[in-house]
C-alpha cells in the first residue's frame, strides 16, 4: 500500500490544478488577513472560504482524479494486490496531497498571522473537512462507472451539505418552533459535516453573534470544550463512514 501511495503522490504533485488550489487558498488567506485590522475578523472571514471552497475543491478534485486514474486502478487490480489496499492507497495519496495543499495555502498564513489556539482549531476543523469530502468523493466515484455521473453526484453532495441542508434545517426550525428543539437540532447538525466544522471553530472563537442557532444550541447544551470534542468525534465518523462504504462497493465492483 505504501508503494501505491508513493506513486499517487508522485502523480498528483505534478498536477497543476493542485498548485492552483494552493495559490487560491494562500491568496485569499493573505488577502483577508491583510485587509482586516483585527486578526480574529480575518479568521472569521476566512471561515467562509473554509466552509465553501475547501469542501468544493476537495470533492471535485478527488472525484475527477479518481476517474482519471481509472486505468491506473484497473492496471493495479490485475496485479497481485488486494483491492482494499489499492483503494485505500489511492485514498491516502489524494488525502495527503489535499491536506498538504490546505496546510500550505491556509495553514501557513493562519499560523503566521494568528498563531493562537483558535487558529489551530480552525486548521484542525479544515483538515477534517477536507478528509470528509475526500471520503464522500470516493463514495460518489465508486457508485458509477461514468465520469460525468460521478462528478454530478459529487456536486450534488456538496450542494446538499453547503446549501440545501441549511434550508431544510431552517424549515424544520420554523415549522416546529413551538416545541423544544435542542436535541433535534444537535442531531440534525450531526448530519452535516460542514455545520460541524463551523461549530467547532465558532465555539472556540466564542463569537456568539456568528454561531447561529445550531452553534448556540451546542454551546448551551455541551458547553464549549465538550461541544468541540463532540463535534470533532462526529466529524471523524463522517470521514470513516463514506470511505468504508466505498470500500465495500469497490471490493465487489466489476471493472
Amino acid at each position: 500500500m505504501n508503494k501505491i501511495i508513493k506513486y499517487v503522490l508522485h502523480d498528483i504533485f505534478r498536477n497543476r490544478i493542485l498548485l492552483a488550489y494552493v495559490v487560491l487558498l494562500s491568496l485569499s488567506s493573505f488577502g483577508l488577513f491583510m485587509m482586516n485590522e483585527d486578526v480574529s475578523k480575518g479568521l472569521s472571514s476566512l471561515l467562509t472560504v473554509l466552509l465553501i471552497v475547501v469542501p468544493l475543491v476537495s470533492i471535485l478534485f478527488t472525484t475527477i482524479y479518481f476517474f482519471n486514474s481509472y486505468e491506473f486502478i484497473e492496471l493495479l487490480v490485475a496485479q497481485p494486490l488486494k483491492r482494499s489496499n489499492i483503494l485505500l492507497g489511492v485514498y491516502a495519496g489524494v488525502g495527503i496531497s489535499l491536506l498538504a495543499a490546505f496546510w500550505i495555502g491556509i495553514g501557513l498564513p493562519v499560523i503566521i498571522f494568528d498563531g493562537t489556539i483558535v487558529g489551530w482549531y480552525f486548521l484542525l476543523s479544515g483538515s477534517l473537512l477536507t478528509m470528509v469530502f475526500v471520503s464522500l468523493a470516493f463514495l460518489a466515484s465508486v457508485l458509477t462507472r461514468d465520469k460525468t455521473q460521478g462528478i454530478g453526484i459529487a456536486m450534488l453532495l456538496w450542494f446538499y451539505f453547503t446549501l440545501v441542508f441549511d434550508g431544510i434545517l431552517l424549515m424544520v426550525m420554523f415549522a416546529f418552533s413551538d416545541y423544544p428543539l435542542e436535541k433535534l437540532t444537535i442531531f440534525l447538525s450531526c448530519l452535516n459535516p460542514v455545520d460541524l466544522a463551523r461549530i467547532m471553530v465558532l465555539l472556540k472563537m466564542d463569537i456568539s453573534a456568528l454561531m447561529g442557532y445550531t452553534g448556540a444550541v451546542f454551546n448551551q447544551f455541551f458547553g464549549s470544550s465538550f461541544g468541540i470534542i463532540f463535534a470533532m468525534s462526529v466529524m471523524l465518523v463522517w470521514v470513516a463512514f463514506p470511505i468504508s462504504i466505498a470500500l465495500r462497493i469497490f471490493k465487489r465492483k466489476n471493472l
Binding site: S69, P80, L255
Partner: protein, 235 residues
Amino acid sequence: MIQLEGLQKKYGKIQALKGINLTLNLNQVVALVGPNASGKTTLIKCLLGMVIPDGGRILFGGKDIKGDVQYKRRIGYMPQIGRYPDNMRMGYLFGMMKDLGKTRIQDNFDEELIAAFKLEEMFGKPMRSLSGGTRQKVSAALAFLFNPEVVILDEPTAGLDPLASEILKQKIHKEKKAGKLLIVTSHIMSEVEEIANSIAYIVEGEALFYKSISEIKSDSGEDRLGKALFHLLQK
C-alpha cells in the same frame, strides 16, 4: 492449471456467462474464439479477478481464487485496449510495475519484448502521446515481464504492425515451448491456426466445444481452420 466450474456472470439482466466448464492445462496455447459479445472478455476478467462471478468457481493450480490475490503473481495479462496513466512516462511505468511486482520474481525480469519492440527509445515519452499500436507493445511487454506461468492475451495482434505481430507470435511460441499456458482471444482464424493448439469456442456465455485444432480439422474433413469451424458450427 485452470479449472472453471459452472462459471456464471450477470450484468443487470444480461447473462454474460451461463455456466462455463473448462479445464486448461499448462504447456499449450488455447484460443478463445466466439462471436462478439459472447463472453470472452468477461471470462478473462473473471480469471483476473477484475470481475467477480455470480456463480460457480475458478480453480487456479487447484485452489479456489475467491478472495485470493496471490495467484495473480503467476498470471500475465495483456488487455484488449491498454490504457495507462496519461502523464506517466513509459520508462517510469515499467519501473513502477517492476517495483510493485518485486515480490513476484527476484529481479529476473523478462525484458525480451521491450528489447524486440525497441521500447527503450521511447522511455521518455508520456503514455498519452503514444499511438494505439505502441501502447499494445507496452501491454505485451508488461504481460511477459514477470515471467508468469500463465499469460492471457486479449486480441494481442489487433493494431500491431506486421513486424511487431510476428515478434509477438514468436514470443508466444517460445513461451509455449517453455511449458507455459497461454490463453489468446482472436477473431483471425489464420492467426489462431498459426499459434494455437486448441480452441475453446464460446457462444452466448457457454462453451460450445473445446478441441484441439487437428481434431477440429479431422472432424470436419476440411484442412483450413476457418472453413472447418464453419462446417462444424453449421451442424
